[in-house]
């Protein structure tokens, strides 16, 4: 069970507003996160992963308290076992595609890296610098890297925005399979609601 | 006082004398200059201090100096052979070498150097500084040199020797009597003056250089060598004559 309570002031198009989330989500869920542009979806992810400390927050993953602002508990990002795919990918320019993916692994396993490269049609680029890839290719590397981390909670910030429809299907299936096999919880921000309706087990609409 | 002539005016205004002098002459020359100006209110004297070697470089490359006062006798000869001179080189003073120390009592003289408590002895580089050269010769003559050779730290010039010794990093140092008579050096430590027999005094010569103010420079140089100036030289630790 994942318990999330957040209250954090942000500045949006309609002035100051509170990003408020209060949810209990069972482990292994596939959560579709939606909401208007600028409403605080990315901020929500950054709070979950520990990159932003909210004004008030309580996050509990099973018995582990990740955040409890009232009691000044703050687990740093390194200790949360939550992976995050950045909206702008944040690929490491000093590493090749393959190294980027391998770097994310907590337990090194080259087979898994190869498998991911294969599935996301990145094999040809494995030794290329991510800065030399097209937008969609970079997005696939970022997704593969996030999955390679094999974290308990996986946060994906618009993972399909730059890929074509065929590839999107492939990636989505990959996610679902991963979700099932590893019993990890997925939170996915996406603007194409329809796509997710069929299989998301939970809808989190931020308003 | 307000309007100082700049370099272009110098050439036209003949009462302006530009002197290049060895750095260790600073205090004594400032004094001599004051006296000279008081006597010749129409004259202007401007002194640039520096290491003799560097000043010679500058003169050889066209520096607008009228008089050069060296810390040795070689450099003025070099200028003469380069044809930069107006007059001939002339010795204006002799410097004496002293053994100086911040903490150790040096009144007993050179024998102290063999003392085990003395670890570092600062001497000016004999290849560059005449004081260093004469010091080394003196130490060799007394037979001490080979015994203390490994304690020596070489400095670029006597000023640096004084800095090494006055900060206590070198236990003792060989500097000029004129250095030792500096107010702050007097306050800090004690010194032993090497006799003429122990160490030959260092002849320092000057030379008037060719240029628009050469006659005025000669006048100032004559003043420096005059009886009247003798007193001042002595006060600052220089001799004007030596026993032959």
């Amino acid at each position: 069970m994942i318990e999330i309570q957040i209250r954090h002031q942000i500045f949006t198009s309609s002035g100051n507003k509170f990003l408020e989330v209060d949810e209990r989500i069972s482990e292994g869920s596939f959560v579709h996160v939606s909401g208007d542009s600028g409403i605080g979806k990315t901020t929500f992810f950054k709070v979950l992963s520990g990159l932003v400390v909210p004004d008030f927050g309580f996050i509990k993953l099973n018995d582990k308290i990740l955040l409890d602002t009232a009691n000044k508990i703050f687990l740093p990002p390194q200790k949360r076992n939550i992976s995050l795919m950045f909206q702008n990918y944040a690929l490491f320019p000093n590493m090749t595609v393959k190294q980027n993916i391998a770097f994310a692994q907590t337990e090194k396993d080259e087979n898994i890296v190869d498998e991911l490269l294969e599935k996301f049609a990145l094999k040809t680029f494995e030794n290329t610098s991510p800065s030399k890839l097209s937008g969609g290719q970079q997005q696939r590397v970022a997704l593969a890297r996030t999955l390679a981390q094999n974290a308990e909670i996986v946060l994906l910030d618009e993972p399909f925005s730059a890929v074509d429809i065929a590839m999107r299907k492939v990636m989505l299936n990959e996610l679902l399979e991963f979700n099932k096999n590893n019993n990890s919880t997925f939170f996915v921000i996406s603007h194409s609601e329809e796509e997710f309706e069929s299989f998301s087990t939970y809808n989190l609409n931020i308003i | 006082k307000k309007k100082e002539p700049n370099s272009s005016e110098k050439s036209t205004q003949n009462s302006f004398i530009s002197v290049a002098a060895a750095a260790n002459l600073r205090d004594v020359l400032e004094d001599l200059k004051q006296i000279y100006i008081k006597e010749n209110p129409d004259k202007k004297v401007e002194i640039t201090f520096g290491s003799s070697g560097l000043l010679v470089q500058q003169i050889l490359n066209g520096a607008p100096f009228d008089l050069f006062l060296s810390a040795d006798t070689q450099f003025p000869e070099k200028l003469k052979s380069a044809g930069k001179n107006y007059g001939n080189p002339k010795i204006y003073a002799y410097g004496k070498v002293v053994l100086w120390s911040l903490k150790k009592n040096v009144s007993k003289g050179l024998d102290l150097l063999q003392n085990l408590e003395i670890n570092k002895i600062a001497i000016a580089n004999p290849e560059l500084a005449p004081y260093g050269k004469n010091t080394v010769e003196a130490l060799k003559k007394s037979g001490l040199y080979s015994k203390i050779e490994n304690k020596i730290v070489w400095a670029e010039n006597i000023s640096q020797v004084a800095q090494f010794a006055s900060t206590g990093n070198a236990d003792v140092g060989f500097i000029a009597l004129s250095n030792a008579k500096n107010k702050e050096m007097m306050r800090r430590g004690n010194f032993y003056e090497l006799s003429e027999k122990e160490c030959a005094p260092i002849a320092q010569s000057g030379i008037v250089l060719k240029g628009k103010s050469q006659t005025e420079a000669q006048d100032f140089f004559d003043f420096i060598n005059s009886e009247k100036a003798n007193e001042i030289w002595k006060r600052y630790g220089y001799q004007t004559k030596i026993s032959k």
Binding site: K46 | R26, Q58, A63, Q163, N182
Partner: protein
Amino acid sequence: MLDQDFIYTLLLTGKLALITTVILILIGIPVAYWLSYSRFKLKFIAETLISMPMVLPPTVMGYYLLVAFSPENAFGDFLQKYCDVRLAFSFQGIVIASIIANLPFMIQPLQNGFSALNDDLRQASYTMGKSKIVTLFKVLIPNIKKSVITGIALTFAHCIGEFGIVIMVGGNIPKETRIASVAIYDQVQALNFEAANRYAFVLFILSFLILLLIYSINRKTNFTTFR
């Protein structure tokens, strides 16, 4: 506490540092721009050459400049005869010496700044019809502000302290080439340690305040949310 002479000396030092820094910005920006964006294969040789003024002892570097500027020499002679400038022992001379000595301190940070900048910004500006000059001044330079400040601070500070090259080329002429570092050096040489301390203290405090001002421009921190 300070004699009039030293105040003149400080003013001269400030003037030298200011002029050198300004001229070096004007030289540094185009050179660094070229080093960053040119696709010339051998530009690492140019980068190396720019650092070379540093490897020679400043006085020795100064000596070579002195020889070059000497009226005994073709170049110095030409300057004196036809342009009526005498570089050795003049303020112009020490400005030139100081520019050469400080070249790497301005160019290196600027070049680093340009190179670290995402090239898309430059390209975006071009597609907006903006010329290279407009792009340089409105897009590139404002985005490497930190590098510009580093370049200015390094050049300024080094200009204040480095006197070897200046004393060699300029001698030590009051109000013309006698800068504060030379004056302090003189006092130390003459074993007037108290005067040297006093001068050094003033120079130190003044430089500290000026550098503080330069760096404080850059103060705002970029990392607001993340702890």
